[in-house]
Subunit: 326 residues, 4 copies
Amino acid sequence: MAEIKCVGILTSGGDAPGMNAAIRAVTRSAIYGGLRVKGIYRGYKGLITDEIQEFKTQNVSNIIQAGGTILKTARCKEFTTSEGRQLAYDNLKRHEIDALVVIGGDGSLTGARIFANEFNFPIIGLPGTIDNDLYGTDSTIGYDTALNTIMECVDKIRDTATSHERLFFIEVMGRDAGFLALNGAIASGAEAAIIPEISTEVDQLAELIENGFRKSKNSSIVLVAESPVTGGAMGLAQRVKTEYPGYDVRVSILGHLQRGGSPTACDRILASRMGAAAIDALLEEQRNVMIGIRNDEIVYVPFSKAIKNDKPINRELLETLRRLSI
Amino acid sequence: MAEIKCVGILTSGGDAPGMNAAIRAVTRSAIYGGLRVKGIYRGYKGLITDEIQEFKTQNVSNIIQAGGTILKTARCKEFTTSEGRQLAYDNLKRHEIDALVVIGGDGSLTGARIFANEFNFPIIGLPGTIDNDLYGTDSTIGYDTALNTIMECVDKIRDTATSHERLFFIEVMGRDAGFLALNGAIASGAEAAIIPEISTEVDQLAELIENGFRKSKNSSIVLVAESPVTGGAMGLAQRVKTEYPGYDVRVSILGHLQRGGSPTACDRILASRMGAAAIDALLEEQRNVMIGIRNDEIVYVPFSKAIKNDKPINRELLETLRRLSI
Amino acid sequence: MAEIKCVGILTSGGDAPGMNAAIRAVTRSAIYGGLRVKGIYRGYKGLITDEIQEFKTQNVSNIIQAGGTILKTARCKEFTTSEGRQLAYDNLKRHEIDALVVIGGDGSLTGARIFANEFNFPIIGLPGTIDNDLYGTDSTIGYDTALNTIMECVDKIRDTATSHERLFFIEVMGRDAGFLALNGAIASGAEAAIIPEISTEVDQLAELIENGFRKSKNSSIVLVAESPVTGGAMGLAQRVKTEYPGYDVRVSILGHLQRGGSPTACDRILASRMGAAAIDALLEEQRNVMIGIRNDEIVYVPFSKAIKNDKPINRELLETLRRLSI
Amino acid sequence: MAEIKCVGILTSGGDAPGMNAAIRAVTRSAIYGGLRVKGIYRGYKGLITDEIQEFKTQNVSNIIQAGGTILKTARCKEFTTSEGRQLAYDNLKRHEIDALVVIGGDGSLTGARIFANEFNFPIIGLPGTIDNDLYGTDSTIGYDTALNTIMECVDKIRDTATSHERLFFIEVMGRDAGFLALNGAIASGAEAAIIPEISTEVDQLAELIENGFRKSKNSSIVLVAESPVTGGAMGLAQRVKTEYPGYDVRVSILGHLQRGGSPTACDRILASRMGAAAIDALLEEQRNVMIGIRNDEIVYVPFSKAIKNDKPINRELLETLRRLSI
């Protein structure tokens, strides 16, 4: 295998807090290890349109605390075509980039896997998504920050939620995964969470109304994962109106603000460790793996596993939420 | 005029951060001045249903930093009837309450004014509303906190707003007043604000699209006051879709979280000064006035003026926003 | 073993954010499980002075987000005497309390262990300390919040740290443990951490000055664990003055504010899970164990192990910090 | 008077949150008005060492929310000499800079005044200092943010301040001015503030101990302005130890973190308005004035007045604090 002398780095897909901390860690670990680093802007798009710039240690100064990503991110249709990927490969060659570190979610790692196989190109992935839906790592970069953002929003809403028999549905992100909704509910002392993972098992709304919500409580806050499976907050509010007309329902959709903000300590440390580990992995001739942290230890997860496997939620948490909302 | 020996205090209407700081200040200033204090729960409703409790200085310990209101708040239809108000008056008499301090917005002070006139009962109002739409005071209790909350949310959304030619409409509170939208836009570096005050003068959306939004900028954030006059963020997004189909629009509605949160220094100091001034006003035999602060000085504003007059926005701010969004 | 019908709960030692979330979880899980709950104020002191109150689910409403502890905490000399402990035991009997949940650090669990053995009394401990220095659990209640508080303070200090060749020593808590200093340094992008764990191995200050601090950097921030072993920030600054007179040193001691604040999502979830697990443990006839969470699973740690064993720091983190500070 | 075509901008002295918002506003308002803008790094030092760069509107994108100053700041001894100022003038001429906007405190405006007079050079000052000690403006850029930072720190310390008869002295900035201490005390619900303005009138510590501090309160928090006149927190603690040995005193010195952090809405709006007004002032042929905002209106304050006059504290606030701390 050819020696690696220059590493390219890009962020792709939805941005997540901590991506900058990861960019910093990859850049500095690479330079520390004697490698050159090039930053690629706007994800795979910048690979194709050649938005590539040499990075020194100063390029990543004072960014660890910033939300978003200094490398920008974009969706890129051309990269799904073999012509697009050929252009990307040619640019990599021209810039003498020998390996890539890709920070992103499910879709980004899928693209990385295809490209890596097609051109036999070394790629290391870092799990960057607020949804925490990548298999093989206990947490993804951005998840802890999003969880805290949600909690702080619910704390504020609770300040004003005092009237009788009122249901608040607060919609949070998590298209296919209820991590944010379930953990957000426990963290904010909400009464329930409605999540996609158990949507086929049980009618969570019926259960909530019939068993859970007829307490001495003045108000109830329910976190709902945004998902076609759950119906989302709006869908549930509509159901309450027709099926349980006695309840006064309010809806709040947290939306885009969940993606932003300065990363928490947890996300910055996670991103820093993973970024350093990405360079270690390359130097150890690892390829096509995502860096994960499990039980506080760095692990290498083959792309195929990280992408295809569903990450299960912890059922203990469902039970804890139920007990604490009495 | 009969001597005042016992003051009742209530919060009414939508809650606002800083109401607790005001409750604390009224309570302690009254006790400091030798008066007794009674807390009335759930606004005018608690007057009628007799949810009234003696307050000592300890009752208001450690609440200055809490959002919401420890006295709760509620809408109350009975208080709009003379039967309801008679019940309220009877309860006040029974509890030997000689005067009231009412913390709330427009509607709450309107109720106060009617009651005060009907029973010749001394009432002092404190402006408690995030909308800042009460005439006679530079700021209302809760406004500065809501403004900061909005700004922090927009800061987060901006972290993720990087794609090309994308318009973000972020809807903020302010049914009849654009203070939060306009000042929020300046504070968050947004490109524009769409506010009710100038809705009849100019088509703000047309102006925004035609003049303002075709810059080298990657994304534009526009704050929209929730108002039937502006159309709200959803209404505007609909208009863009049909009238300016070239733009990719995203909508975020901040909603209830704007009312909550720990109050800012500004709101706590405002509430503390106003609460102390309310007791001074009663002892100076002022009645039926709202406490305001103008140019850093306490002023007494007759209820009639505070309620009926429109508070004008500062046109200089519109111009500043325009200049800074280039 | 006698059936447990009533559980007492207390917080002891230095307070930590998340203690209230733990009190809430213990109370509600106990009531959910059919037990009665009594809150004991001011730690072991309240056991002796009989400050004990029945807790219902409402007693712990709306406290999950509050820093400090609603049960207060205190040091208690009497509890170190057998007379004091006898009084405590008598009060427990009189209140029909059959078991205790004690939330606190090292010293508190040591007291719990002695008492439990002396009177054959069932006690479950929860690790409540910002220092994270209890063996057998990946994290303690309060640690994540303190870490984020430290990080936010350093973020602010960094805003102003721009002059040349200036060293900032920022002292953080952690008498015998460098978790806060080391992780805080990584999270805040500081240049180094000086911690007690390796103080005997190497002269960390000499290493810092000689190898690490002569970069193109304008300023360097070093986190120092408050400890007789490290010398603390003041001690180090003194050493720099005499041994390395070329440097301009500033000192900042974060102090008490590290203990306070609304707990993070991580701490609230940790506390909620541990609180629920404490009741499970009692019902499973566990005694004299501390609840821990290791690798995301609840574990029972005998008091003797939790107290006596040193919890090692992760050496990988030292290396990561070194690489990222270039 | 020669037409102004190009404006230089610099920040000087201690940095303050909101300086970046001011830089952005000056830059964009100037460009909007058809002027060129040059950023000068490291204050007066960069004028002399020629660290000057053309600024476009993009140079100030996305900085409104950042603490510190992108232009850096430094103390500069050379500028106190006429040789240094001649060098500065020569550089200005060479860069075709016709006017300066200087953002800073007392010392910075003093330097501006001397330079402006010496070379008949147009300078506009913006009040940038957290201390709020400039005459002629209700608030200075950075003051509101520092006040909120202090308040949040005291909120955290209060969470843990529960023991009996304990005095906390928390030292805040404000060498010659008690604005931060006095307003911080009201905002955080502290029991007292010790400030330089009244140090010669009364022994504030004696008054505090003898009259104020013997309540039913468990703990007392006192904010102390860092000042040779007050003695600072350490000095006061020493006095308590010798003069009032019955009290258990704790000291916390907030230090440098008070200067940093993302600016509040209030500071960003203030800085934006003042920055825009600075360009207006230049175009209106104003010279050697500081921009102030009084009673919500832009005013021009001659340097001589801004610097030399003491800004009085509002005595009403002292009385309010006294009444609310019972």
